[in-house]
Symmetry: C2
DNA sequence: CTTTACAGACCGACTGTTCTGTTTTTATGA
DNA sequence: TCATAAAAACAGAACAGTCGGTCTGTAAAG
C-alpha cells in the first residue's frame, strides 16, 4: 500500500533468489513430468536444495504451483513487440506466439496448471482471480493494437481470445499430429484466416517507456 | 481373423458388462477428479465393485485409462447426423459438437487423457496409434461431407482440425472465462468464421444403412 | 535476543501392484 | 447326461514405495 520496496535487505534478496530457483525448477517439472508427478521431492532434487527450503516458502503444493503460475504469467504478459517497436502483422504475431510462448516450457507448464485447476479446487481458488485479471489485461494489451473488420473492439477481443484457445488446444494435440508439416499447415491456415479478420491499427501511437 | 464372435458366451457377456461398468466409472472419475486423482480405489468405489475386478481386467492404471479412452473414442466417432440425415450446416455442427461432445463428461475425460499422454510415456505408448487412427478416420468422416472455399480436400481437413483444437482449448479456458455469455460469443464468432470458409457438400449422396 | 531462512528427520495416508483365496463358467470325456 | 478338471471372473488382504504436510534443530540476519 505505502511506498513499498524500501529496503532490498539481505534476507529479502536471499528469499527472492530462493523462490525464483524453486519456481524455475517447478516449471521444469510441470513441463517434463506433469502436474501430478510434480512433487516436493522432484522439485527439491531439480533445484538442488533441501526439503525445508520449499516448505518454508510454500506451505502447500497448491501454493507452490500458484506462485509459479503467477511468475509465468508475469513473464508472458510482456508481448513480443515490447521494445517500442510497432506491433507485428497478425500472421507473425500468431506464429511467434506459438513458437515462443505457448509451445515453450512455460507455456506447457501453464497448460498443466490450467488443467489441474479444473479439478483441484484449492489451486483453483488461489488462481481464479489472478487468471481472470491476467486474461483481461493481456487482452487489453493486444487488442489495443489491432482492429477487426467489423471495427468493434469487442470483436477484436473475441478474435484474440479464439486465437489463444486454439493455440492451447494445439498443445494437447501436438504429440498426435500426423506429421510436423501438418502442424505447420494448421498454424498457417489459422493465421491466414485470422489475417482476414484482423489488422494492425494504422494510426498506432507508440507509447515510449523508459526501458528496464 | 476367422468368422469371429461366434458365441457370446456367458463369461464373455459378464466380462463385457464389467468392463463397461469399470470404464464408465473411470470416465466419471477423470471428469470430476482429473487423471492424477483417478485411482483404483476411487474407480472401485464409484463402480461399486471390488478391487480385484479392476486389476483382473486392467493390470495397470495405464491399461485402464487406455481402454477407457478407446471406448470414448468409439462413442465420439459416430457423428451427430448419423441417422441417415444430411450433415448439418457448419455453424450447427460446431455448436452441437461443443455442447454434446467436447464439453461433456466424455469430452472432458478425453482432454484429461490427452494431457496425461504428454508426460506419461506408458499411457502414450498404449494410445498413440489408436489416437492417430481415430484422428484420421474421424477427419475422413467429417471432411467427406463438407468442402472449403478453396475446393481442396486438404484445406477442409485443416479447417476441421482447427475447429477441434479450438474446442479443446476452450475447455481449458472455460472456468476462467469472464462470463458465460462471453463464451457463447466466442463460439458464435468462431463458428461464423468457419462458416465463411466451409459449406456442406451440395451433391451429398446419403448412404442408407439398416439401422439397428 | 528475536526473527527469518533453511536443513532434514518423521509421520500417517494413500498409491499401484502382487498375491492368495473363492465362486462361477467352460471344456472334456465316457 | 453328467461328473470333473481346468480356466476364467471376481474378492480382498498384503506390500513396499511415495505422497503432502508437520515437526524440531541450526545458522544467519535483523
Amino acid at each position: 500500500m505505502n511506498i513499498a520496496s524500501k529496503k532490498p535487505s539481505v534476507q529479502d534478496r536471499r528469499s527472492r533468489d530462493m523462490r525464483a530457483k524453486i519456481c524455475n525448477a517447478t516449471v521444469a517439472c510441470l513441463d517434463q513430468l506433469g502436474y501430478a508427478e510434480t512433487t516436493f521431492a522432484k522439485v527439491q532434487a531439480k533445484a538442488g536444495i533441501s526439503r525445508g527450503a520449499i516448505t518454508h516458502h510454500f506451505p502447500t503444493k497448491q501454493a507452490l504451483v500458484a506462485a509459479t503460475a503467477m511468475r509465468l504469467l508475469d513473464n508472458a504478459q510482456t508481448p513480443i513487440w515490447n521494445r517500442g517497436r510497432p506491433p507485428p502483422p497478425v500472421y507473425e504475431l500468431i506464429m511467434s506466439s506459438w513458437a515462443n510462448i505457448v509451445n515453450s516450457s512455460g507455456g506447457r507448464a501453464i497448460v498443466e496448471i490450467l488443467v489441474a485447476c479444473r479439478t483441484d479446487t484449492a489451486l483453483f481458488g488461489l488462481l481464479e482471480q489472478s487468471l481472470r485479471d491476467w486474461d483481461r489485461s493481456n487482452l487489453d494489451l493486444i487488442s489495443g493494437q489491432y482492429v477487426s473488420v467489423t471495427g468493434s473492439r469487442e470483436d477484436t477481443d473475441l478474435l484474440w481470445s479464439i486465437a489463444r484457445n486454439f493455440l492451447r488446444g494445439l498443445l494437447l494435440h501436438e504429440k498426435f499430429v500426423s506429421s510436423p508439416e501438418y502442424l505447420t499447415q494448421m498454424m498457417d491456415r489459422f493465421a491466414r484466416m485470422m489475417e482476414s479478420q484482423l489488422q494492425v491499427l494504422p494510426e498506432t501511437q507508440i507509447q515510449i517507456e523508459d526501458a528496464e
